[in-house]
């Protein structure tokens, strides 16, 4: 089935197809981002440029654009609003990398590694402030409401995640609450903006909000799974970061719950260490393999991806809607 689709689309995957569909708008968003940063200190343009142009999937701003198209929007506000989403996302990444002490992001050195933590903190603050400024320029109270709510929820999620670090009593509901805040909320806000500017009816707006939330949750579960099971050569991700940081993500939560008494002690010992090494990582992976953690995480992500797709039930079938559905499937089956 997938192969037939791939052939029918010149071998392109659903993300690339999604990107092709929206390419003219992506070009405008990129220009808007560059123009918005023009005149800033060179540290801002260089550091922002490094992360914005570092080959991210641009899923969040694309969702704003795509959702507006699904609602037959024909104006141009989506360009500015998609840029707002990208700015907020970039600000979050910059601060995340400092908090996580990351050295890599998308296979390249992270901004805090190339410059320093100070620059990442301050440029992150600048981008967040700038996002609000651009949003106010748009002038919609509803869009402001969506984004300001999201911004509070994202930072709440980050704090919740920090507080749960190395706490092996963190359960799956708490994990879902954290990723609902720190990831799914921005996915949802991005989708809501698309519905909002299209003046879609209440039901459609709610569907898009739900779609974003469920897609965000599925996306983050996969991200957290790849942190244990990705291959740096193919994904550019540094596997093992979450373990090093003591982050209570789904694979670790499930693994710990399934361990027997002595295995639990081993996990507790490794998590309690000041710094974990490759050997610790291998031990955790081998426990995860024993308990089928990877497959079960993916199944959970698929569960949410199905909910995401069903959220779009209110929209009639169309070529555009198919692009959305294929994208959801692709994102939960991605390996990088």
């Amino acid at each position: 089935m997938n192969i037939i689709k791939l052939n029918a689309n010149n071998g392109k995957n659903p993300l690339e197809i999604f990107f092709d569909w929206l390419e003219p708008d992506v070009f405008k968003i990129n220009k808007n981002i560059t123009d918005s940063l023009a005149g800033s200190a060179s540290l801002v343009t260089e550091l922002s440029g490094h992360i914005i142009n570092s080959g991210g999937k641009r899923i969040r701003p694309l969702l704003t654009v795509a959702c507006s198209k699904l609602c037959n929007y024909t104006g141009s506000r989506h360009i500015n609003l998609a840029s707002v989403i990208e700015f907020i996302h970039t600000a979050t990444l910059l601060h995340d990398d400092v908090v996580d002490n990351s050295k890599k992001r998308r296979g390249k050195h992270s901004a805090n590694f190339i410059w320093d933590n100070k620059s990442s903190i301050l440029v992150g603050d600048y981008l967040l402030s700038k996002a609000f400024r651009m949003l106010i320029k748009d002038g919609s109270a509803n869009c402001l409401d969506i984004i300001s709510k999201a911004s509070v929820k994202i930072s709440q999620g980050e704090v919740k995640q920090l507080v749960s670090v190395k706490n092996l009593h963190t359960n799956e509901s708490q994990y879902l609450d954290i990723i609902d805040h720190k990831t799914a909320e921005l996915f949802s806000a991005a989708c809501q903006l698309g519905g909002e500017i299209s003046e879609a009816n209440k039901e459609k707006k709610m569907s898009l909000a739900e779609f974003g939330t469920f897609l965000g949750i599925a996306y983050q579960i996969i991200d957290d799974t790849l942190d244990y099971f990705s291959n740096f050569k193919t994904s550019g991700k540094n596997a093992g970061n979450d373990l090093k940081e003591g982050k209570m993500s789904l694979p670790l939560i499930i693994c710990y719950r399934r361990c027997n008494k002595s295995e639990k002690k081993l996990v507790e010992y490794i998590i309690g260490k000041n710094s974990t090494n490759q050997n610790d990582f291998r031990k955790i992976i081998s426990l995860m393999e024993k308990y089928n953690v990877r497959n079960d995480c993916i199944k959970k992500a698929i569960h949410f991806s199905i909910m995401a797709k069903d959220s779009l039930g209110i929209f009639p079938n169309s070529v555009e809607k198919t692009k959305f559905l294929n994208l959801v499937d692709y994102l939960v089956h991605r390996t990088s």
Copy 2:
């Protein structure tokens, strides 16, 4: 003159008189801040509480309240808006302390020292987001415009300051531009909000904006001067922080410009070091003493404080206006 005034006010200084005048509102602001943080993660309430209740002067939120009173405002929006100002200021302090690697703030351990940098970064993000959320609740597009502009300018100022670190070619205009962004803008925004909610006329609004800017510049010059010439026992400030950080503040800029060739080399050597010690600090202080830097910095602050006071020329003389004028004088003559 001052003595007579002090006696007439039961020995209270103009800041205390200002505070007494606004005390019922300060009480409401404190309650509003506590209520706004209720339900947040305990890390947020504890860390925010630590810095918000650490004995700061509350000048910025007080300016919002006082400016609204100067414009005969009788409503209650100033409480929420003053809280917004305090949240933005607190967020800035949290990030500043991480960037400056500070161990002390207002004579107590800084939040990043008691908790860690991660917590300070994330709680700072939360407070900034929350400020925008509270501002949107107020519902005024003009207030949003004022604060969003200020927020961008503050972060630009922080970036500009970071870029100028250890750059002895930084001149006085560049310094004034940095403090106009990082400090004076929030003072000005705080004053503007007071005028805005009072529906003061355009001239009064502009006067308040100007007043805040000039007061902010004067205030920061004194702050930067105290960083070289304060006494920890009386001020709770760690003198010498700016030198350690290589911050190009006014005393250092003036000092370097006045030095002869060999003294310049000494300053360059000290600034170029990876870490300065008490001996380095003493050498710089002795150069500053030789060149009368302290007095000249204070004179420059007084110059801006006079501009601040003259900005209020449009307001008729009144008991309230006198409180403002005395406060300005007090703030530039403070020793902590």
